[in-house]
Symmetry: C2
Subunit: 532 residues, 2 copies
């Protein structure tokens, strides 16, 4: 970098003071020494400014990416659209989508030309998804048309509390005014369109753009998970949901998924439960079917991720289950995590002894640091995740408050799974421009962009998170190099083995090149139009 | 630090792999080497956890402070109150004051026992204050009772647009329905209490806890500055306002102030204007008077800080004025800055050539990085402030997105003036727990806590900012060491010369020891009560 300013720099006053050794080996700090910058000439100032600026420019995420000639051309169009939105935002901040709550700008973003481009971008992998929050509510609502579905309502049919597939009317009644009825009866009673609209709201965090606290937001989200249990844990549906998730993600440019799953024991029409291994088997069969039908798709793997709100001995049980399942599905059940709101659960440290019993070829992918309680025992999960040898960290929202841990993550090549929209919906931050991942980007800490539970906020499987990260979190000049690094990282930090990664990269590259070609063609079309 | 875990560490597996050299000289990274942490035994895990934790604990702001026995005792009471609020917050986040907008918790905070303690804390210096936003509105409202005050209203007297002191009714009328009338007449017309209440709102950002954007918030704030011009720039009042500011700050535990002032040419009753040097003279005379009456007070200095929204040649003129004023008041007009909303002004780089003409014994104290437009030309002010050799940075809100600059600030010992409440009111962030200063604290970047324009948000001169920083931004375990480092920093990074600093430190220490003594006495009283 010093080469850039070579001659001028060497002739400057600042440089003369520092020339006791080869300047090409010097750090910026050594160069500066105890320089009093107020003694600078305007020339000194300009040179030093350029050096520091250059250090900055060449240190963030994507700085190592080389663009091809075609990519350069595509980059121009992308940056033209990005700058248009950015500069309009500076002129009138109320028009800048990443300055608002996602729910309020969802429709606006759909019309953004930048979003249109990003939507088609081959994004590589989505490494943080959860078993029953991946699909759009459209898919879920369609599932409520299946045979033998009963629905439990309160408030004279106004509020849906549970679903269940059964031959006969279920008998358990938890609420005074609760009653079970066939789904088709409720549909008739409330009207099909009304019920659809109701479910669209009931299965999402809408319209609550603002909860009073993140605890409140979490409770609401857990309520959706719970409601879906009775519907999706029905054995014949579990695979269908997963199939639709793969379909929707693939359509959004995602070729590979790692799913954190609680691996429920699925139930049958007679109420009996299947063992967990059957749940995995359904996943695996569904995936094989999907891959056969979609040869461009790379694949998917499972991270066993049961609920964290338990005692250590239960975690011990989880670890055993994971070990067994991995023995049976060695290249499919490949990791372990604990999920649920960190703030109200036990810290990882409490489970350390049990966790360390997991064979070390099964990776940890710990959720940690999804909190703003700096220095609380919850916040310490970040420390434990790293010291326990995690391969990635889900969220790690608070890591910029822990520079020692942030540097360790970088040193140990632990990638952070950043989920911008999730963090906003769950009330950790209100404006994407203040998201801490900006610091991760600047520090070039390993990171991937993921989505968490996109189905619950009506987001595209991954495109909205990419859009918010690219426009709202990354610096203005972050460009195609940033996007390419992000996509490549998602494969690099996946649990694929080296050969698998090579193959994945090839499949991704094929789609990427096509996408670039399309943008270039689009640009040429616009250019020709303007010329005529 | 390694000493702490010495024996155990040396016997662990991790250590054995790293023992090719003296472990006391090793960095954490060298120790870890290419260790696979998944090979750890529970013992390894526990040791490494302790080491990393210890690194963290001993690296933040305040880690270098040694507490006396008395301070230890006081610390226990302070931490007891802090933990009470913190833990109540974790249980029910809606009860945690730093999670809300300041305007909504102002009254609640007043009753906080922790706030009561912090209010009395000798805080050292307030290094970022602005000439006409220091005093409470009470002081300003009292000033509207002075003789010869005219008021310009619109909407049939309902909206106050301007003040002016004059013998006769002013003639300029800017609005169709605007009219000048004597202040006492308006007071009679609207009723004294009504008018007071109106002014309390008109002279603050209340009740607008939420503006649509920070641009909107800025416009509102500039409106207050403008309204006050006609009142406070009246020569006989200028000194009184400053005197009252010193009084209110001193009562809040602040013994030294650096005031950024636009140095207006004050006007007299006949409309004539005095030269800027008279404005400085009034400041100086007032300060002398205040110091004589308050021997415990340390002092105050001026930073000439005119508006940044001008052309370079005007900045050239500013620089000349500053040089002249410094010649006449060498130990009083000691620094230079440019103020006003950065987002809409010119970047510092545009003025570099002119700025570098300022003699280098007059320090720069640049406002920079008060933006969330990462990578915009505005954001580059941070880079320019540092490369131009600034001594401190006012706000620097965006610096955590610029690790190269953050490290330079640390290396060059440039302190950031962090103003938590201001950042929230001006819409840079909504929750103190997400304030970027947490990273500055963790990285031990030089910083002081200041308040900006406390009068406009009904905040105490400095106590509320200290409270929010201590409870909301710093980690849970930040304690008296943090507070003491913050207070000491405010003197250390002031523009006082070395002898001045020694004297200041002595005056501060005297009050500090008294405060500690009071807390210890209070604790003993409580202890005795509990015993009986």
């Amino acid at each position: 970098m010093l080469m850039l300013v070579g001659r001028r720099w060497l002739s400057s006053g600042l440089a003369r003071r520092a020339l006791h050794r080869n300047p090409h080996e010097m750090t910026l700090f050594e160069m500066l020494g105890c320089t009093n910058l107020r003694k600078s000439t305007p020339e000194d100032y300009r040179i030093l400014r350029e050096i520091v600026n250059s250090f900055e420019r060449h240190s963030g995420v994507g700085n190592d990416i080389q663009l091809t000639l075609e990519e350069h051309t595509a980059n121009e169009l992308i940056m033209c659209e990005k700058k248009r939105e950015y500069e309009k935002g500076i002129m009138d901040p109320s028009k800048f989508a990443p300055g608002h709550h996602f729910f309020q700008v969802l429709n606006k973003v759909k019309n953004s030309p930048l979003f249109q481009i990003l939507r088609k971008m081959p994004k590589g992998a989505a490494l943080k998804t959860h078993d029953t929050s991946m699909c759009s509510s459209k898919v879920v609502i369609e599932m409520t048309y299946r045979e033998n579905l009963w629905v439990y309502t309160t408030q004279a049919g106004c509020r849906i509390m549970a679903f269940r597939f059964a031959k006969e009317k279920p008998k358990d009644v938890e609420h005074e005014d609760g009653e079970w009825q066939p789904m088709e009866k409720l549909r008739e009673f409330r009207g099909e369109e009304n019920l659809k609209n109701y479910l669209r709201v009931r299965l999402s965090m809408y319209p609550l753009a603002s909860f009073s606290t993140n605890a409140h937001a979490w409770r609401h989200m857990i309520g959706i998970f719970n409601l879906l249990d009775g519907l999706l844990q029905y054995a014949p549906l579990w695979g269908d949901y997963y199939y639709n998730a793969l379909k929707e993600f693939y359509a959004d440019g995602v070729q590979y998924l790692e799913v954190r799953t609680i691996l429920p024991e699925l139930y049958c029409l007679d109420g009996s439960r299947l063992p967990k291994r059957e749940t995995v088997r359904i996943y695996k069969d569904t995936l094989e079917r999907f891959k056969k039908e979609n040869p461009g798709f790379i694949g998917s793997k499972l991270i066993y991720a049961p609920i964290r709100h338990v005692q250590p001995e239960v975690v011990g049980q989880y670890v055993k289950e994971c070990t067994e399942l991995n023995k049976e599905f060695p290249d499919f059940v490949i990791g372990f995590d604990l999920v649920g709101q960190e703030d109200v659960g036990h810290p990882l440290s409490k489970f350390a002894e049990e966790l360390l019993k997991l064979p070390d070829h099964i990776n940890f992918y710990f959720s940690a640091g999804q909190t703003n309680w700096y220095g609380s025992h919850v916040d310490q999960n970040l420390l434990d995740a790293i010291v326990l040898g995690t391969k990635r960290i889900s969220h790690g929202y608070s890591i910029t408050k822990h520079p020692v841990l942030m540097r360790l993550a970088k040193y140990l090549n632990i990638a952070l799974e950043v989920c911008p929209v999730s963090n906003q919906v769950l009330q950790l931050g209100s404006d994407y421009r203040s998201h801490p991942a900006a610091t991760l980007i600047a520090e070039n800490v390993p990171m991937v962009i993921s989505s968490g539970n996109p189905g619950y906020w009506r987001a595209a499987p991954l495109s909205h998170d990419i859009y918010m990260a690219f426009l709202g979190i990354a610096p203005m000049n972050a460009d195609l190099k940033f996007l390419k690094r992000t996509a490549k990282n998602s494969i690099r930090y996946s649990s694929l083995w080296d050969e698998g990664k090579a193959e994945a990269m090839e499949k991704w590259k094929k789609e990427w090149d096509e996408w670039i070609g399309d943008i270039v063609a689009q640009k040429e079309k616009v250019f020709k139009k303007e010329k005529n």
